[in-house]
Amino acid sequence: MHEIIQITWGAIVSFILAFTVGITYMGLNRKITARIQNRIGPPWYQNFIDVIKLGSKQTSIHHGVMQHMGPAFIMVTSVMSLLIIPILNQNRFFPNLNFHGDLVFLLYIMVFGPLGMALGAGQTGNPNSAIGVTRGLSQMAGFEIPWVMALVALMIQYKTTSIVDLMNIQVETGKWLMFSSPFAFLAALLAMLGMFRYAPFDIVGAPQELASGPMSENGGKYLFVMMSAGSVFAFAKLTLYVDLFMGGANNLIILVVKTFSLYLFPMLYGIVSPRYRTEQSVRYFWGWPSLFGLLAILHAMFF
């Protein structure tokens, strides 16, 4: 009972942290984009205002039960990843649900939400939603390959499928995995571009062609939950990268610094990029990123 309360409490606190940081990052993204385009841009807290506004929308519509549940599905992914991914080294922040083999679990729980939301998007009957979903799934089949290759490289190099073990190894040796297995880091970094779905990989939402794709029929409270889940998930993913490759973090400030420096990569890549077509995007991930992944596996096998 005590453990359950502790984990619940930890989930709530880390959710609030991830929500705050994630939304701030999204706002900073807009600000930095604006500055690069020589605009003043919205304030950094603009996304908080947007989320509150979406939350305070008075009416909302849905096309059926699956669409109604869609945002809840995607929230499961976000919060479960937060529960699995250790926020700080040695679980200093809050105890999580870590177990040995959680990397594989994470890979699968990461698609739980998107698939659930895809079902919701499908039920709307809007063709744009379905097209967006097919694009998203295709792209996922693309970027999961280098991403899994990177993870497998780590797993075989250190003979573990646990995130905590990988973090402890970095703490013990004092060497970040991004230096000791550089190819894995490269592959994972390139896969991150697809994971964040910023340009040139923003084929799912593509406001100009698909009218925001799977979300096109969601407004009000549904979009509110989705936006929150997206921000939380973004932070969870960044934390995972920090945990795996950058030695974790000993306190929250270091965590924020590390995650933000990582976040700059897809963001800055995206600002100056146009958009790929779906098959180009899929093939991109099966090109150089997968080659790096292969090199990472070879590196892990023979060195």
Partner: protein
């Protein structure tokens, strides 16, 4: 007891067939009673380890149950019973029902016979019975009966010949047909035989398991037989191939001095089967074809697990085999329900059934989640164990291949659910009603079992572990299998329950928030009320996107899918035809020519006299 079981099934089959002439109700009753009686006897009366033997002529036949065959009989009878209930409703009003039920019961009987035979001769007989009874199902109805039936029977015959050759080789060497003796004498075979006997057996088994070069029959046969049987066909009958494979791998190949390449080849064949099956499934528009290719792909994972052959891999293969029977059975039944209610199985024709057939949707949703391997359903457990075992046994590239297949599987999973149940609700399908309870309940039962397995995989893992001990595996951490605890490849504990509870808790929490917030101002609108630039779609206008669903993805993987195995076979067949055609011309029909042949033959014989006979 095995006698009773078999005679009940055989007698029931004949009685059902005969009763068809008298009345439909009697036939249905006999059919159900037979299935239920067989299941009841199997669960209550059959003792593990019991052996019966009797002689026919000089052949000593031996039947018996061990934990390993018990596990597979569980799959056969569990799925068979549910499919029998389903069939009653699904087949209502079709022709030749006596024949259908007869073949159904015979194929159940033959599958049980296969797993319970302890000698090669009855094994072969049951194997052939299974092939023929399922062949009758393939040609029972359907559009491309000729093509698919011939494909199926040709490949099965090829497999059967391979097996017969192997049996003959075994008999020639040890003068006994007992499987136990074959295994115990395996070490004394000559090295060539040691390689060839397992290869020949594996050929036969991989035809049934639809492994990569021999899978050509599967999509056609699965999609052409009645769905009530296809769930058994794909769920249980293909597992007979897996059963044989496990037997061969454990008893023979692990004794080979150089078994590594053998295992590698088969593991890779399994992985390629998985990848290609998945890619082809993505390209299908026919739901039955999609599921058929998906079955091929799923069996690919199982084959990989069997071929790797470590404790965890074998366990995952056994677990996945049972799981595949559950979810693929459910899905084929769901397709059958949709087919029965709407008359079509094309994704591009039927949309928006979710509100009309909610229970079918729920069952297929759960089955799809399990198929995709997404937690918290049972599929994840199997996938997870497979990955762990692959990583632990140093098959790194194989992990990537399997993972690619399993990620791409999401594409066809979504296509299945979207194609039938989601999308715009059309006036054309407004009349559709939920399938009868007899069809829905078996689906829901199996789907519910999948949910339970996600939290308590021990229900299946325990018998699987016992089965593996029969095969001579050391009891792994297995003796610790409790209901909801898994062990990863390094022997660490994984508690499933907190994960499942956490997922359920988070989901419910946010669902309640979503529902309660602005409850009064949340409205349901129809699927015609969509934001399509202010345009209101008319009643007959269907905007659902269901044609060329994954075109960009298929374009990206295009080069891989250019080559089809069936084309190769066709070319091979055409080549053979040319050769035969040429050979045929020897017979000109002219007596003079034949005289010349005789002359030439004699001359050659005379000329080569010394070389050949001297």
């Amino acid at each position: 007891m095995i006698y009773i079981l078999f005679s009940i099934l055989l007698g029931g089959a004949i009685l059902t067939f005969l009763a068809n002439k008298i009345s439909g109700l009697l036939r249905d009753t006999f059919f159900l009673l037979t299935m239920l009686g067989a299941t009841l006897i199997f669960y209550t009366q059959l003792h593990i380890g019991g052996l019966v033997n009797f002689s026919i002529g000089s052949f000593n036949l031996e039947w018996g149950v061990n934990s390993f065959s018990w596990y597979f009989s569980l799959i056969v009878l569990g799925l068979g019973t549910l499919a029998a209930f389903y069939a009653l409703s699904y087949m209502k009003g079709k022709e030749n029902l006596g024949f259908f039920y007869f073949s159904f019961l015979i194929s159940i009987l033959s599958m049980l016979g296969i797993v319970m035979s302890h000698d090669l001769i009855s094994f072969f007989i049951f194997w052939e019975m299974m092939t023929w009874s399922s062949y009758f199902m393939v040609i029972y109805s359907g559009k491309n009966v000729q093509k698919n039936g011939i494909n199926y029977i040709l490949f099965s015959a090829f497999g059967a010949y391979a097996m017969l050759t192997a049996i003959a080789l075994v008999y020639a060497n040890i003068h006994s047909l007992s499987i136990v003796e074959m295994i115990s004498n395996y070490g004394q075979f000559s090295p060539a035989l040691q390689t060839w006997i397992p290869i020949l057996f594996l050929m036969a088994f991989s035809v049934k398991a639809a492994m990569m070069p021999l899978h050509v029959w599967a999509p056609g046969a699965y999609s052409d037989s009645p769905m009530a049987y296809t769930s058994v066909f794909s769920g249980a009958l293909s597992k007979m191939g897996i059963y044989g494979m496990i037997l061969i791998f454990v008893t023979m190949i692990s004794h080979l001095p150089d078994d590594t390449w053998f295992r590698e080849v088969f593991a890779w064949l399994g992985a390629i089967t998985a990848i290609m099956g998945t890619l082809w499934a993505i390209a299908q528009d026919d739901a039955r074809k999609l599921l058929a290719y998906s079955s091929v792909a799923q069996l690919g994972y199982i084959i990989t697990g069997v071929a790797i052959g470590t404790d965890l891999a074998m366990l995952s293969a056994l677990f996945l085999a049972a799981l595949h029977a559950l979810f693929k059975g459910t899905l084929f039944m769901a397709v059958g329900a949709v087919e029965r209610q709407t008359g079509t199985v094309k994704f591009s024709e039927v949309t928006g059934l979710i509100r009309k057939m909610p229970w079918t949707f729920i069952a297929s949703l759960l089955a799809i989640i399990a198929l995709a391997g997404i937690p918290p359903l049972g599929g994840f457990v199997g996938k997870w164990m497979l990955y762990e075992s692959l990583i632990n046994s140093n098959h790194y590239i194989l992990v990537i291949a399997i993972f690619f297949a399993s990620t791409s599987a999401f594409l066809y999973c979504y296509k299945f659910l979207f194609g039938f149940f989601l999308g715009q609700e059309e006036k054309e399908w407004a009349h559709v009603k939920e399938a009868p309870a007899l069809m829905v309940v078996p689906m829901l039962l199996m789907a519910g079992f999948l949910v339970i397995l996600g939290t308590f995989p021990g229900i299946l893992l325990k018998p699987a572990d016992t089965a593996m001990q029969t095969l001579g595996f050391a009891p792994t951490e297995g003796h610790l299998w409790s209901m909801s605890v898994l062990f990863n490849a390094w022997g660490d504990q994984v508690l499933l329950r907190p994960l499942v509870y956490a997922i359920a808790g988070i989901f419910l929490f946010f669902l309640i928030i979503l529902t309660v917030k602005g409850w009064k101002n949340t409205r349901y609108v129809t699927t015609k009320d969509i934001s399509s630039s202010g345009e209101v779609p008319l009643e007959h206008e269907n905007l659902t996107f269901s044609v060329n669903f994954y075109q960009p993805f298929l374009r990206a993987v295009g080069p891989v899918m250019k080559h089809r195995m069936i084309t190769w076979y066709r070319e091979f067949g055409a080549g053979m035809e040319t050769i035969f055609d040429f050979t045929r011309r020897i017979y000109t029909g002219n007596g003079q020519t034949y005289a010349i042949y005789v002359m030439v033959f004699l001359v050659i014989i005379l000329l080569l006299q010394n070389t050949i006979f001297g």
